[in-house]
């Protein structure tokens, strides 16, 4: 598998999907067509989780702001991850700026929704 790397734009986050086990989203997410935008990301993740995995996977999510469609996509992603984490060491770091209350709350909500997914709230220093 190859690394998928997307540069950040005004409306989309920087995305790095590295088959060595590091997955990172950073920035804002309110693309014009959210599902089209995330399609290659979902494809990559599905392929990643169905191939031979490294020892562990770390997911760093640092999303400042996202729209409702992105929220749906994150749910779908976390579904995939939660399912994979049954037999694989995987953890998600939800990284937020202490000044960004809504980003922190979003992380708290995801924790509530995914019982068996390791989701850490990480405040940026």
């Amino acid at each position: 598998m190859e690394t998928l790397r997307l540069e950040a734009t005004q409306y989309t986050p920087e995305i790095v999907l590295d088959p060595a086990g590091v997955i990172a989203f950073s920035g804002k997410s309110y693309p014009e067509n959210t599902f089209d935008f995330y399609q290659p990301v979902m494809d990559w993740l599905e392929q990643y989780f169905s191939s031979e995995l490294p020892e562990r996977t770390v997911v760093n999510m640092e999303i400042i702001y996202f729209n409702s469609s992105s929220s749906k996509l994150f749910f779908d992603m976390f579904d995939l991850m939660e399912e994979a984490s049954a037999e694989h060491a995987l953890e998600v770091n939800w990284i937020y700026d202490p000044e960004n209350e809504s980003a922190r709350e979003a992380g708290e909500d995801f924790i509530e929704d995914f019982d068996s997914l390791t989701l850490n709230l990480v405040e940026k220093g």
Binding site: S71, K72, F75
Partner: protein, 265 residues
Amino acid sequence: MSKSPDDKLIEELEGLRERFNRTTDRIVKDIGRQKKIMERSDKRQRQEYDELQRRFDEIERLNKEIEETQREVVFTMGAIGESRSKETGNHVRRVAEYSKLFALYYGLAEEEAELLKQASPMHDIGKVAIPDSILNKPGRLDEHEREVMNTHAQLGYEMLAYSTRPLLKLAATVAYEHHEKWDGSGYPRGLKGKDIHIGGRITALADVFDALGSERCYKNAWDDARIFELFREEKGKHFDPDLIDIFFQHIDEFLEIRDRLKDDL
């Protein structure tokens, strides 16, 4: 041992039921999520929008603060220049208003006219560097004193010219050129006609109009008839003829400003 057709059918149906249940679970889950997603998204949007609104308000407040501070600094600087020659604060306000009115009727855009309104009160700022003995001398100045006095235009320009701000740049030009005359007989550079910046031409007329109507240490206030006569005489000599025309066409408005901002006695 091969399965009977019934067993096969049962197996197939059970498979279907399992897939149906999975799909149903998934749909139920999605419906539940959809509501959450919308509610949370609405909440985030509200928070973001509130935050933006707060910042916009703050920016607007700061903008007003900057504009008001600028206006006050400008009038204060103007008043400093004028106070050296015993002018009143209202003199600079009147000159400011006359200048804007001239600018608008001359055809300048609202923003340019407003900029001139703010710049023109600073035209005499160079007088801070003129000795009191000359500035407040009763009676006529001798030749040397006149020369010193006349340096205030150049001095004012030098004080303001360092700035790259449009307002102070215009103020520098106005300070430099407000004693130039249409026929080229003014100072410091003897510029002629439209080589004199419109801000300089306007401020010259606005300042003289107000000064003649006010009492000064070396003269009494002129009555209107005498001022108008001088304007007609100096049309195309001291003053831009177009501006003199504007003055007489809209004289009521100029007199209204004079009346509204008259000096407290």
